[in-house]
Protein backbone atom coordinates (compact mmCIF):
# COMPACT_ATOMS: atom_id res chain seq x y z
CA UNK A 1 0.00 0.00 0.00
CA UNK A 2 2.80 2.41 0.94
CA UNK A 3 4.64 1.67 -2.30
CA UNK A 4 1.52 2.14 -4.44
CA UNK A 5 0.77 5.39 -2.60
CA UNK A 6 4.31 6.56 -3.29
CA UNK A 7 4.66 5.52 -6.94
CA UNK A 8 1.16 6.50 -8.08
CA UNK A 9 1.60 9.79 -6.22
CA UNK A 10 4.90 10.46 -7.99
CA UNK A 11 3.43 9.57 -11.39
CA UNK A 12 0.48 11.97 -11.06
CA UNK A 13 2.46 14.76 -9.40
CA UNK A 14 3.25 16.63 -12.70
CA UNK A 15 -0.43 16.38 -13.68
CA UNK A 16 -1.49 17.64 -10.26
CA UNK A 17 0.94 20.56 -10.72
CA UNK A 18 -0.61 21.37 -14.14
CA UNK A 19 -4.12 21.39 -12.68
CA UNK A 20 -3.06 23.30 -9.55
CA UNK A 21 -0.91 25.98 -11.21
CA UNK A 22 -3.53 26.66 -13.90
CA UNK A 23 -6.08 27.36 -11.15
CA UNK A 24 -4.35 30.70 -10.43
CA UNK A 25 -4.66 31.77 -14.08
CA UNK A 26 -8.28 30.65 -14.29
CA UNK A 27 -9.44 32.13 -11.00
CA UNK A 28 -7.76 35.50 -11.56
CA UNK A 29 -8.17 35.73 -15.30
CA UNK A 30 -4.42 36.25 -15.72
CA UNK A 31 -3.16 35.24 -19.11
CA UNK A 32 -0.41 36.84 -21.13
CA UNK A 33 -1.58 38.10 -24.51
CA UNK A 34 -1.09 35.86 -27.53
CA UNK A 35 1.84 36.80 -29.75
CA UNK A 36 1.57 36.43 -33.53
CA UNK A 37 4.12 34.10 -35.08
CA UNK A 38 7.04 36.32 -36.20
CA UNK A 39 7.22 34.33 -39.45
CA UNK A 40 3.86 35.92 -40.36
CA UNK A 41 0.83 34.46 -42.05
CA UNK A 42 1.02 32.11 -45.03
CA UNK A 43 -1.33 30.87 -47.70
CA UNK A 44 -1.92 27.45 -49.20
CA UNK A 45 -3.69 26.58 -52.45
CA UNK A 46 -5.15 23.47 -54.12
CA UNK A 47 -6.74 22.30 -50.89
CA UNK A 48 -8.36 18.86 -51.15
CA UNK A 49 -11.93 19.94 -50.27
CA UNK A 50 -14.95 17.69 -50.87
CA UNK A 51 -17.73 18.97 -53.14
CA UNK A 52 -20.42 18.57 -50.46
CA UNK A 53 -18.61 20.60 -47.79
CA UNK A 54 -21.40 23.17 -47.54
CA UNK A 55 -23.90 20.41 -46.67
CA UNK A 56 -21.86 19.16 -43.73
CA UNK A 57 -21.81 20.38 -40.16
CA UNK A 58 -20.50 19.46 -36.73
CA UNK A 59 -18.08 16.58 -36.32
CA UNK A 60 -18.66 15.37 -39.88
CA UNK A 61 -17.41 18.70 -41.25
CA UNK A 62 -14.33 18.59 -39.00
CA UNK A 63 -13.49 15.04 -40.10
CA UNK A 64 -13.93 16.02 -43.75
CA UNK A 65 -11.66 19.05 -43.34
CA UNK A 66 -8.84 17.06 -41.72
CA UNK A 67 -7.13 16.10 -45.04
CA UNK A 68 -7.18 19.78 -46.09
CA UNK A 69 -5.65 20.79 -42.74
CA UNK A 70 -3.00 18.08 -43.12
CA UNK A 71 -2.29 19.43 -46.62
CA UNK A 72 -1.79 22.87 -45.08
CA UNK A 73 0.47 21.35 -42.38
CA UNK A 74 -1.87 22.43 -39.62
CA UNK A 75 -2.30 19.92 -36.80
CA UNK A 76 -4.32 20.18 -33.63
CA UNK A 77 -7.73 20.16 -32.04
CA UNK A 78 -10.32 21.81 -34.28
CA UNK A 79 -12.78 24.07 -32.45
CA UNK A 80 -16.06 25.66 -33.48
CA UNK A 81 -15.99 26.39 -37.24
CA UNK A 82 -17.47 29.68 -38.34
CA UNK A 83 -19.19 29.67 -41.74
CA UNK A 84 -19.21 33.02 -43.53
CA UNK A 85 -21.96 32.15 -46.02
CA UNK A 86 -21.83 35.37 -48.07
CA UNK A 87 -18.11 35.04 -48.74
CA UNK A 88 -18.26 31.22 -48.90
CA UNK A 89 -15.47 31.01 -46.34
CA UNK A 90 -14.82 28.84 -43.32
CA UNK A 91 -12.88 30.12 -40.32
CA UNK A 92 -11.32 27.12 -38.59
CA UNK A 93 -9.61 27.53 -35.19
CA UNK A 94 -7.02 24.82 -34.53
CA UNK A 95 -5.47 24.55 -31.09
CA UNK A 96 -2.32 22.89 -29.86
CA UNK A 97 -1.67 23.67 -26.16
CA UNK A 98 0.30 26.93 -26.31
CA UNK A 99 -0.66 27.86 -29.88
CA UNK A 100 -3.80 28.81 -31.80
CA UNK A 101 -3.88 28.65 -35.58
CA UNK A 102 -6.68 30.29 -37.49
CA UNK A 103 -7.24 28.79 -40.93
CA UNK A 104 -9.51 30.84 -43.18
CA UNK A 105 -10.60 28.70 -46.12
CA UNK A 106 -11.91 30.20 -49.33
CA UNK A 107 -14.05 27.25 -50.40
CA UNK A 108 -14.62 28.36 -54.00
CA UNK A 109 -10.93 29.01 -54.70
CA UNK A 110 -9.69 26.09 -52.56
CA UNK A 111 -7.24 28.38 -50.82
CA UNK A 112 -6.44 28.89 -47.16
CA UNK A 113 -4.94 31.78 -45.21
CA UNK A 114 -3.12 30.58 -42.10
CA UNK A 115 -2.29 32.74 -39.09
CA UNK A 116 -0.55 31.40 -36.01
CA UNK A 117 -0.56 32.88 -32.54
CA UNK A 118 1.71 31.75 -29.74
CA UNK A 119 -0.26 31.77 -26.53
CA UNK A 120 2.48 30.50 -24.20
CA UNK A 121 2.87 28.03 -21.36
CA UNK A 122 0.25 29.59 -19.07
CA UNK A 123 -2.36 29.34 -21.81
CA UNK A 124 -1.28 25.76 -22.52
CA UNK A 125 -1.86 24.85 -18.86
CA UNK A 126 -5.27 26.54 -18.90
CA UNK A 127 -6.25 24.81 -22.16
CA UNK A 128 -5.26 21.44 -20.68
CA UNK A 129 -7.10 22.15 -17.41
CA UNK A 130 -10.28 22.90 -19.37
CA UNK A 131 -9.98 19.95 -21.75
CA UNK A 132 -12.17 18.27 -22.67
CA UNK A 133 -14.69 20.24 -20.59
CA UNK A 134 -18.46 20.21 -20.79
CA UNK A 135 -18.98 22.13 -24.03
CA UNK A 136 -19.10 21.11 -27.72
CA UNK A 137 -19.46 17.45 -26.78
CA UNK A 138 -20.06 16.42 -30.37
CA UNK A 139 -17.00 18.24 -31.73
CA UNK A 140 -14.26 17.96 -29.12
CA UNK A 141 -11.54 15.35 -28.91
CA UNK A 142 -11.08 15.33 -32.67
CA UNK A 143 -7.28 15.21 -32.43
CA UNK A 144 -5.57 12.00 -31.30
CA UNK A 145 -3.46 13.73 -28.64
CA UNK A 146 -6.46 15.41 -27.04
CA UNK A 147 -8.19 12.03 -26.82
CA UNK A 148 -5.08 10.79 -24.99
CA UNK A 149 -5.24 13.83 -22.67
CA UNK A 150 -8.91 13.09 -21.98
CA UNK A 151 -7.88 9.63 -20.85
CA UNK A 152 -4.91 10.94 -18.82
CA UNK A 153 -7.08 13.53 -17.07
CA UNK A 154 -9.43 10.74 -15.99
CA UNK A 155 -6.51 8.56 -14.89
CA UNK A 156 -5.18 11.48 -12.83
CA UNK A 157 -8.50 11.80 -11.00
CA UNK A 158 -8.82 8.06 -10.33
CA UNK A 159 -5.22 7.82 -9.12
CA UNK A 160 -5.70 10.93 -6.99
CA UNK A 161 -8.71 9.28 -5.36
CA UNK A 162 -6.64 6.17 -4.73
CA UNK A 163 -3.73 8.21 -3.33
CA UNK A 164 -6.04 10.12 -0.97
CA UNK A 165 -7.75 6.96 0.27
CA UNK A 166 -4.47 5.11 0.75
CA UNK A 167 -3.07 8.23 2.45
CA UNK A 168 -5.95 8.21 4.92
CA UNK A 169 -5.31 4.52 5.62
CA UNK A 170 -1.57 5.10 6.15
CA UNK A 171 -2.26 8.03 8.46
CA UNK A 172 -4.75 5.96 10.46
CA UNK A 173 -2.00 3.45 11.22
CA UNK A 174 0.02 6.20 12.95
CA UNK A 175 -1.49 6.23 16.43
CA UNK A 176 0.48 9.27 17.56
CA UNK A 177 -1.00 11.40 14.74
CA UNK A 178 -4.57 10.17 15.06
CA UNK A 179 -6.03 12.81 17.36
CA UNK A 180 -4.71 15.84 15.51
CA UNK A 181 -5.45 14.16 12.18
CA UNK A 182 -9.10 13.63 13.10
CA UNK A 183 -9.33 17.26 14.18
CA UNK A 184 -7.90 18.43 10.85
CA UNK A 185 -10.12 16.08 8.86
CA UNK A 186 -13.15 17.42 10.74
CA UNK A 187 -11.99 21.01 10.25
CA UNK A 188 -11.63 20.39 6.49
CA UNK A 189 -15.08 18.81 6.28
CA UNK A 190 -16.67 21.67 8.22
CA UNK A 191 -14.88 24.23 6.00
CA UNK A 192 -16.08 22.59 2.77
CA UNK A 193 -19.66 22.03 3.85
CA UNK A 194 -20.10 25.44 5.47
CA UNK A 195 -18.68 27.21 2.41
CA UNK A 196 -20.84 25.24 0.02
CA UNK A 197 -23.90 25.79 2.22
CA UNK A 198 -23.27 29.56 2.31
CA UNK A 199 -22.84 29.69 -1.47
CA UNK A 200 -25.92 27.64 -2.32
CA UNK A 201 -28.45 28.90 0.28
Amino acid sequence: MRDLHLYFGLFISPFVLVFAVSVFFLVHNWLPKAVPNPAGARSVSDLPLPANLDQLSGRERIDTLKPALDWAHVQGEVGWIQHLAKENRLVVPVTVPGRITTVTIDVARREAWIEEQRTGLASALVALHKSPGPHLVGLRMNWFYMRVWYWLADVTVYLLLFVTLSGVYLWYLLRSERKIGIALLAAGAVSVFSLVYALVH
Binding site: S13, F19, A20, A124, Y145, T164, G181
Partner: protein, 227 residues
Protein backbone atom coordinates in the same frame (compact mmCIF):
# COMPACT_ATOMS: atom_id res chain seq x y z
CA UNK B 1 3.29 -7.10 9.73
CA UNK B 2 5.23 -3.92 10.38
CA UNK B 3 3.24 -0.89 11.37
CA UNK B 4 3.61 2.15 9.15
CA UNK B 5 5.60 3.92 11.85
CA UNK B 6 8.07 1.09 12.08
CA UNK B 7 8.35 1.03 8.33
CA UNK B 8 8.99 4.80 8.31
CA UNK B 9 11.75 4.45 10.87
CA UNK B 10 13.35 1.63 8.89
CA UNK B 11 13.20 3.65 5.68
CA UNK B 12 14.87 6.73 7.08
CA UNK B 13 18.62 7.03 6.72
CA UNK B 14 20.57 7.98 9.83
CA UNK B 15 21.30 11.70 9.70
CA UNK B 16 24.10 13.31 11.66
CA UNK B 17 22.35 16.71 11.34
CA UNK B 18 19.65 17.52 13.89
CA UNK B 19 18.15 20.22 11.62
CA UNK B 20 17.84 17.61 8.87
CA UNK B 21 15.82 15.37 11.19
CA UNK B 22 13.67 18.27 12.21
CA UNK B 23 13.02 19.25 8.59
CA UNK B 24 12.14 15.66 7.74
CA UNK B 25 9.78 15.36 10.69
CA UNK B 26 8.00 18.63 9.95
CA UNK B 27 7.81 17.87 6.25
CA UNK B 28 6.05 14.59 7.07
CA UNK B 29 3.69 16.36 9.45
CA UNK B 30 2.96 19.00 6.82
CA UNK B 31 2.16 16.21 4.34
CA UNK B 32 -0.27 14.45 6.71
CA UNK B 33 -1.90 17.55 8.13
CA UNK B 34 -2.32 19.40 4.87
CA UNK B 35 -3.55 16.26 3.14
CA UNK B 36 -6.14 15.59 5.82
CA UNK B 37 -7.38 19.17 5.93
CA UNK B 38 -7.66 19.37 2.14
CA UNK B 39 -9.13 15.88 1.69
CA UNK B 40 -12.76 16.94 1.19
CA UNK B 41 -11.77 19.89 -1.00
CA UNK B 42 -9.67 17.60 -3.20
CA UNK B 43 -12.51 15.07 -3.45
CA UNK B 44 -14.95 17.83 -4.36
CA UNK B 45 -12.77 19.27 -7.14
CA UNK B 46 -11.64 15.86 -8.42
CA UNK B 47 -15.17 14.50 -8.59
CA UNK B 48 -16.63 17.63 -10.18
CA UNK B 49 -13.75 17.67 -12.68
CA UNK B 50 -14.72 14.15 -13.65
CA UNK B 51 -18.35 15.25 -14.07
CA UNK B 52 -17.29 18.16 -16.29
CA UNK B 53 -15.25 15.83 -18.49
CA UNK B 54 -18.13 13.38 -18.82
CA UNK B 55 -21.10 15.56 -19.58
CA UNK B 56 -22.62 12.56 -21.39
CA UNK B 57 -23.17 10.74 -18.07
CA UNK B 58 -26.95 10.54 -17.85
CA UNK B 59 -27.17 10.15 -14.08
CA UNK B 60 -25.54 13.57 -13.60
CA UNK B 61 -27.88 15.32 -16.04
CA UNK B 62 -29.03 18.65 -14.61
CA UNK B 63 -29.89 21.18 -17.32
CA UNK B 64 -32.81 19.20 -18.77
CA UNK B 65 -34.14 18.72 -15.24
CA UNK B 66 -33.96 22.39 -14.26
CA UNK B 67 -36.96 24.11 -12.66
CA UNK B 68 -37.94 27.40 -14.23
CA UNK B 69 -40.33 30.00 -12.83
CA UNK B 70 -40.99 33.61 -13.66
CA UNK B 71 -42.86 36.46 -12.05
CA UNK B 72 -43.16 40.22 -12.12
CA UNK B 73 -42.38 42.33 -9.07
CA UNK B 74 -42.75 45.97 -8.12
CA UNK B 75 -39.51 47.86 -7.63
CA UNK B 76 -38.35 51.38 -6.88
CA UNK B 77 -36.05 52.79 -9.51
CA UNK B 78 -32.55 52.76 -7.98
CA UNK B 79 -30.85 56.12 -7.43
CA UNK B 80 -28.54 57.30 -10.20
CA UNK B 81 -25.16 55.65 -10.10
CA UNK B 82 -23.06 53.00 -11.78
CA UNK B 83 -24.52 49.77 -13.15
CA UNK B 84 -23.10 47.73 -10.25
CA UNK B 85 -24.58 50.00 -7.57
CA UNK B 86 -27.97 49.99 -9.31
CA UNK B 87 -27.92 46.21 -9.73
CA UNK B 88 -27.09 45.78 -6.04
CA UNK B 89 -29.92 48.11 -5.06
CA UNK B 90 -32.40 46.12 -7.18
CA UNK B 91 -31.13 42.80 -5.76
CA UNK B 92 -31.58 44.14 -2.22
CA UNK B 93 -35.15 45.16 -3.03
CA UNK B 94 -35.90 41.78 -4.58
CA UNK B 95 -34.15 39.74 -1.88
CA UNK B 96 -31.69 38.17 -4.29
CA UNK B 97 -28.11 37.26 -3.42
CA UNK B 98 -25.37 36.19 -5.80
CA UNK B 99 -22.73 37.07 -8.34
CA UNK B 100 -23.79 39.63 -10.95
CA UNK B 101 -23.28 38.67 -14.59
CA UNK B 102 -23.62 41.33 -17.23
CA UNK B 103 -25.41 39.67 -20.10
CA UNK B 104 -26.28 42.61 -22.34
CA UNK B 105 -25.02 46.09 -23.12
CA UNK B 106 -27.21 48.82 -21.66
CA UNK B 107 -28.54 51.00 -24.47
CA UNK B 108 -31.72 52.34 -22.90
CA UNK B 109 -31.50 54.13 -19.52
CA UNK B 110 -34.99 52.91 -18.52
CA UNK B 111 -34.23 49.23 -19.18
CA UNK B 112 -31.79 47.30 -17.04
CA UNK B 113 -30.97 43.64 -17.51
CA UNK B 114 -28.54 41.41 -15.68
CA UNK B 115 -28.24 38.00 -14.13
CA UNK B 116 -27.54 37.05 -10.53
CA UNK B 117 -26.15 33.58 -10.00
CA UNK B 118 -24.85 31.28 -7.32
CA UNK B 119 -24.26 27.55 -7.56
CA UNK B 120 -27.59 25.93 -8.42
CA UNK B 121 -29.61 29.13 -8.80
CA UNK B 122 -29.73 31.64 -11.62
CA UNK B 123 -32.05 34.66 -11.67
CA UNK B 124 -32.41 36.75 -14.81
CA UNK B 125 -33.62 40.23 -13.93
CA UNK B 126 -35.20 42.51 -16.51
CA UNK B 127 -36.10 45.82 -14.91
CA UNK B 128 -38.27 48.46 -16.51
CA UNK B 129 -37.29 51.53 -14.51
CA UNK B 130 -39.95 53.73 -16.17
CA UNK B 131 -42.77 51.38 -15.01
CA UNK B 132 -41.06 50.42 -11.72
CA UNK B 133 -41.47 46.74 -12.57
CA UNK B 134 -38.99 43.88 -12.77
CA UNK B 135 -39.46 40.53 -14.46
CA UNK B 136 -37.62 37.71 -12.75
CA UNK B 137 -36.85 34.42 -14.43
CA UNK B 138 -35.56 31.88 -11.93
CA UNK B 139 -33.70 28.72 -12.85
CA UNK B 140 -33.07 26.18 -10.09
CA UNK B 141 -30.76 23.24 -10.74
CA UNK B 142 -30.56 19.88 -9.03
CA UNK B 143 -27.65 18.70 -6.84
CA UNK B 144 -25.59 17.62 -9.87
CA UNK B 145 -25.91 21.12 -11.27
CA UNK B 146 -24.83 22.62 -7.94
CA UNK B 147 -21.69 20.48 -7.61
CA UNK B 148 -20.70 20.97 -11.24
CA UNK B 149 -20.98 24.75 -11.00
CA UNK B 150 -18.90 24.79 -7.78
CA UNK B 151 -15.91 23.69 -9.88
CA UNK B 152 -16.11 26.72 -12.18
CA UNK B 153 -17.68 29.37 -9.94
CA UNK B 154 -15.00 32.08 -10.08
CA UNK B 155 -17.01 35.17 -11.03
CA UNK B 156 -14.67 35.91 -13.93
CA UNK B 157 -14.41 34.69 -17.49
CA UNK B 158 -11.44 34.57 -19.81
CA UNK B 159 -11.57 37.38 -22.42
CA UNK B 160 -14.41 39.16 -20.63
CA UNK B 161 -13.14 42.17 -18.72
CA UNK B 162 -16.64 43.46 -17.90
CA UNK B 163 -17.51 40.62 -15.56
CA UNK B 164 -15.53 40.91 -12.34
CA UNK B 165 -16.14 39.34 -8.94
CA UNK B 166 -18.71 41.41 -7.07
CA UNK B 167 -20.11 39.07 -4.41
CA UNK B 168 -18.10 38.52 -1.24
CA UNK B 169 -18.81 34.76 -1.22
CA UNK B 170 -17.51 34.41 -4.78
CA UNK B 171 -14.27 36.03 -3.58
CA UNK B 172 -14.11 33.68 -0.59
CA UNK B 173 -14.67 30.69 -2.90
CA UNK B 174 -11.99 31.98 -5.31
CA UNK B 175 -9.50 32.32 -2.42
CA UNK B 176 -10.46 28.80 -1.35
CA UNK B 177 -9.62 27.53 -4.84
CA UNK B 178 -6.27 29.36 -4.64
CA UNK B 179 -5.58 27.87 -1.21
CA UNK B 180 -6.43 24.33 -2.35
CA UNK B 181 -4.20 24.74 -5.41
CA UNK B 182 -1.34 26.10 -3.28
CA UNK B 183 -1.88 23.27 -0.79
CA UNK B 184 -1.70 20.68 -3.58
CA UNK B 185 1.55 22.19 -4.86
CA UNK B 186 2.98 21.98 -1.32
CA UNK B 187 1.78 18.36 -1.03
CA UNK B 188 3.56 17.47 -4.28
CA UNK B 189 6.79 19.15 -3.14
CA UNK B 190 6.66 17.55 0.31
CA UNK B 191 6.00 14.12 -1.19
CA UNK B 192 9.00 14.50 -3.51
CA UNK B 193 11.17 15.39 -0.51
CA UNK B 194 9.84 12.41 1.48
CA UNK B 195 10.52 10.08 -1.44
CA UNK B 196 14.04 11.47 -1.93
CA UNK B 197 14.80 10.68 1.71
CA UNK B 198 14.16 6.97 1.00
CA UNK B 199 17.24 5.78 -0.94
CA UNK B 200 15.86 2.26 -1.52
CA UNK B 201 12.77 3.70 -3.27
CA UNK B 202 14.68 6.07 -5.50
CA UNK B 203 15.03 3.91 -8.60
CA UNK B 204 11.33 3.07 -9.06
CA UNK B 205 10.40 6.55 -7.88
CA UNK B 206 12.54 8.11 -10.60
CA UNK B 207 10.82 5.89 -13.17
CA UNK B 208 7.33 6.85 -11.94
CA UNK B 209 8.21 10.55 -11.78
CA UNK B 210 9.93 10.50 -15.18
CA UNK B 211 6.91 8.79 -16.76
CA UNK B 212 4.69 11.46 -15.28
CA UNK B 213 6.92 14.33 -16.37
CA UNK B 214 7.43 12.96 -19.88
CA UNK B 215 3.76 12.33 -20.56
CA UNK B 216 2.69 15.62 -19.00
CA UNK B 217 5.54 17.58 -20.62
CA UNK B 218 4.52 16.26 -24.03
CA UNK B 219 1.20 18.06 -23.67
CA UNK B 220 2.44 21.22 -21.95
CA UNK B 221 5.44 21.93 -24.17
CA UNK B 222 6.18 19.04 -26.52
CA UNK B 223 3.19 19.11 -28.84
CA UNK B 224 3.72 22.66 -29.99
CA UNK B 225 7.35 21.85 -30.79
CA UNK B 226 6.44 18.66 -32.65
CA UNK B 227 3.47 20.05 -34.61
Amino acid sequence: MHSSTEQDAADQPVSPRPWGDSLRRWNRKLHYYLGLYLLFFVWLFAFTGLLLNHSQWRFAEFWDRRRQTSDERDILAPPPGGDLAQARDLMRQLGIRGEIDWTTTRNDATRFEFRASRPGHIVEIKADLARNKATLKRIDLNTWGVVRILHTFTGVRMDDARNARDWVLTSVWAWTMDAVAAGLILMVLSSCYMWYELPQKRRFGVIALALGFLSCGLFCVGLRCLY
